[in-house]
């Protein structure tokens, strides 16, 4: 028996070279500490299960912060409480590897609770070894979320008072109500019999991960003689007599036999360029016919649009179609939605620029063209229009024509014309039709190419086309 206890598992380094100082043989843990026992059980399990060359072990913050001194596996050290999040990143990168987090009660049940809870709830394929010794060991005996009622610590000097500090957190009980976790058990290191049970639980939890069954957690009640200010022997007894009375041992959840295995795909190997183009929607469509050139008169060149109206009038889409058509027509373009302080009162607006040269500010503060689809928009933006600019306004909804005399005004009863076509919703395309007929900034063909791109609903295309033509026809009739 004595020989076996002293034999070092192969998954431990022969000597602990990462450990500072001259002693490279013993661990940094206090005499009688449970960490050494549990480390050994894990290392033995990794040996026997043949996992040590495919395991990544995450060292937490706490007394076991230096677990990487000992385990001859892949080692990553992380911030306090974040091991389950980091483990998520690692496991998803290497789904075929065994990822272990090893966490104390402060790390897991206080600062990192949200992380372990959600890793459990996602059913991350990781194994969590949770050492519960009801105290903060490393930082000097402060209260842990699992400290017992009445337990005296540096931060509960009068004993933990539930009215001030609440009750100890029962991690296994809470996590086992979640649907996702596959295996949750609480064990202890109180005596040889319980250590044997812990040995089995460690293996079972690892096997659960090997088999692709999902999240596994083993809570280990563990002595901390230093933190408890006890002799090692008394500490063991306290685990058996007191801790296990407060934290019930046993299997809280085990669906490993009924759950179908699942293995994530290895995300290695980014797709080739053509595949990326497909994913991003960059496939070249069948050749689109070249667009007729447009010849806007000087006052219509390099237009800067402010397009405004009620939400629901298709204001943003109007702008998008215009920008898309402009790009196809060979302009530099930009589109900016109303954003920030301008975005209130149920109105929507966007800024569109079509330019022969590089677009500077995408914000249109002095529009050369204002498309106003409701009265508040007209009133708000009329004064911003540059002299000689154009105001296209919704004359079937706005009963107050623009007051300015130094701008061109184009009244378009877009809603009425759209209604006549059978759908008010296409009033935006009526307005756009009138605009392009009046200004010649883009060709009808460019807009027709743009519509299916900016308006994904195919059944709307015909109606939009008709609306566009109606708007163009209307503007032509005004010219006569």
């Amino acid at each position: 028996m004595a020989v076996e206890v002293l034999k070092k598992p192969r998954t431990f380094y022969d000597s602990y070279q990462r450990k500072p100082g001259t002693d490279k043989i013993t661990t940094h843990y206090c005499p009688g500490c449970g960490h050494g026992n549990l480390h050994k059980l894990i290392a033995e399990a990794l040996d026997e299960m043949g996992l040590s060359d495919r395991t990544i072990f995450i060292s937490p913050v706490g007394c076991s912060v230096f677990a990487y001194y000992y385990f001859d596996v892949g080692n990553v050290q992380v911030a306090h409480g974040r091991a389950p999040a980091a483990a998520t990143g690692i496991k998803r990168a290497h789904p075929d590897k065994i990822v272990i987090t090893y966490q104390g009660d402060g790390d897991l049940a206080a600062i990192g609770w949200n992380n372990v809870f959600h890793a459990a709830n996602r059913g991350e394929h990781i194994t969590v070894f949770f050492v519960n010794n009801a105290i903060y060991g490393m930082t000097g005996s402060q209260m842990a979320p699992t400290s017992l009622v009445g337990q005296k610590t540096m931060t509960s000097p009068r004993g933990r008072d539930p009215r001030n500090e609440g009750y100890p957190i029962k991690v296994c009980e809470i996590l086992s109500v979640l649907e996702s976790p596959a295996y949750i058990e609480r064990v202890s290191l109180a005596d040889t019999k319980s250590i044997n049970q812990t040995r089995k639980a460690v293996r079972k939890a690892l096997q659960c991960q090997v088999d692709g069954k999902g999240f596994s957690l083993v809570e280990v009640l563990s002595p901390c003689p230093t933190g408890w200010r006890m002799e090692p022997r008394d500490a063991k007894r306290w685990v058996a007599d007191v801790l296990t009375q407060n934290f019930k041992l046993g299997v809280f959840k085990d669906v490993t036999s009924e759950r179908a295995p699942y293995f994530f795909k290895d995300p290695d190997g980014a797709p080739p360029f053509d595949e990326i183009k497909r994913i991003l929607g960059w496939e070249e469509k069948e050749k689109e016919s070249p667009l007729p050139k447009v010849f806007p008169s000087p006052e219509n060149r390099n237009p800067q649009f402010k397009i405004a109206g009620f939400g629901g009038q298709g204001i943003l889409v109007l702008g998008l179609v215009l920008a898309e058509a402009g790009m196809r027509q060979g302009y530099q373009v930009s589109w900016l939605p109303s954003y920030g302080p301008e975005m209130r009162g149920g109105t929507a607006n966007c800024h569109v620029i079509l330019s022969d040269s590089k677009v500077g500010s995408p914000l249109v503060s002095r529009p050369t063209v204002l498309i106003a689809q409701n009265r508040p928009s007209l009133e708000k933006f009329e004064s911003d229009v540059v002299p000689g600019g154009l105001i296209l306004y919704e004359s079937s909804l706005i009963d107050r024509p623009p007051q300015r005399s130094d701008v061109r005004v184009l009244p378009v009863p877009a809603a009425k014309l759209a209604d006549d076509l059978g759908d008010t919703r296409v009033s935006n395309m009526v307005a756009l039709g009138a605009l392009i007929e009046y200004t010649c900034v883009v060709s009808k063909e460019a807009v027709l190419q743009a519509i299916p791109i900016s308006v994904p609903r195919k059944d709307f295309y015909e109606l939009n086309r008709k609306a566009l033509e109606t708007g163009m026809e209307y503007a032509r009739s005004l010219k006569k």
Binding site: A85, R122, W335, P337, P341, L363
Partner: protein, 347 residues
């Protein structure tokens, strides 16, 4: 290859996929959510991992894990979310883990508002977390650059084993412009330092602990040497109409676009005004500004904050020339006309 209209926030993910980014961990927040939406849609289609994490803290630590494991990985958020990520960014810098972190800035402090601001300059550029570290910070001002600089960000992150920040604002994120998809893939380098869970990489260790003062001093010196190297090699900026300029305007992100228009208007009006746009905010174009300080009469800095980058400009100018500052914040954005008027006052 044809141009395609794309939203700035979406272009970030287009760039990420081209750069071989294999995982995205995020948490929704306006006005950065479209990045998370695009990642949710495209990254799994490209065979990578997308997780909506439980918090910003979790997402940056998932990034920490994925990066430890050798992946190109990223996260994105907006100002309040970035405050939460600072812990993880400090750890990534300490453990020398490459990753890309995007901040689409909004108004602060606290919940502030969702309108654009540039008030996280100090947080990103000066290192918002604890310890001696730097985040290489790139500031795109167009949809094209949202894509291009994201690719560059991954490359710089790997080259220097350091987090790289993309610092942008609500306007650049929400804006739609034509994007020319760069016809190049950016394969990640071999990462012999990564912990991939096999026999060959067992000797590697990802950690930021250096227990003894001597060790930590050596580690921080090593980081410092790396940062000196970055400062020597990775300064990026754009010059616009600096020839004969007597007043140099300086702005980044959306402000640089407005300044561009204002400078054009100023030149048309016969005013000798130019624009220097820092593309890398750290490393900052200090040398360039110092050179300009020998030639020009004054600098005009505009920021959407109470004035953060201006400190770096003043450090570069070293009092040789006046540095004027014009700021808007809270979501208010100056118009080109407004800037022109302010510039006119200074010339």
């Amino acid at each position: 290859m044809k141009r395609k209209l794309m939203r700035g926030n979406d272009a970030i993910i287009a760039g990420a996929i081209l750069a071989g980014c294999r995982s995205f961990f995020g948490y929704p927040i306006t006005p950065a959510s479209e990045i998370t939406h695009a990642a949710a849609k495209w990254i799994p289609e490209a065979g990578g991992t997308f997780i909506q994490a439980e918090s910003e803290i979790a997402s940056i630590n998932m990034v920490y894990g994925a990066s430890s494991a050798g992946q190109r990985t990223m996260t994105a958020s907006s100002s309040p979310g970035m405050s939460l990520k600072q812990e993880g960014i400090s750890y990534c810098a300490g453990s020398e883990l490459p990753c890309v972190v995007v901040n689409v800035m909004r108004g602060g402090p606290g919940l502030g508002n969702i309108a654009p601001e540039q008030s996280d300059y100090n947080q990103m550029v000066k290192g918002g977390g604890h310890g001696n570290y730097k985040v290489i910070t790139l500031a795109p001002n167009s949809v094209q650059e949202m894509c291009d600089l994201t690719i560059l960000a991954f490359e710089l992150a790997d080259k220097y084993r350091n987090p790289v920040g993309i610092l942008t604002d609500g306007f650049v994120g929400q804006m739609i412009e034509p994007l020319m998809l760069p016809e190049r893939l950016s394969p990640p380098p071999e990462k012999s330092w990564a912990v991939t869970g096999d026999k060959e990489t067992k000797g590697n260790l990802i950690s930021s602990i250096y227990l003894s003062p001597e060790e930590l001093e050596e580690h921080v010196s090593h980081l410092k040497r790396k940062y000196d190297d970055v400062e020597a090699k990775e300064v990026r900026f754009e010059e616009y109409k600096l020839d004969g300029a007597k007043v140099v305007t300086i702005g980044y992100g959306i402000v640089s676009r407005i300044l561009h228009t204002a400078v054009n208007a100023a030149r048309t009006a016969g005013l000798p005004v130019g624009l220097l746009r820092p593309i890398s905010l750290w490393p900052f174009p200090t040398k360039k500004i110092r050179e300009l300080a020998e030639k020009v009469d004054a600098f005009f800095v505009c920021e959407l904050s109470t004035g953060q980058m201006v400190d770096d400009v003043r450090l570069a100018v070293e009092g040789r020339r006046p540095v004027h500052l014009y700021t808007r914040y809270g979501g208010s954005v100056p118009t080109a006309e407004e800037l022109l008027e302010k510039i006119r006052e200074k010339t």
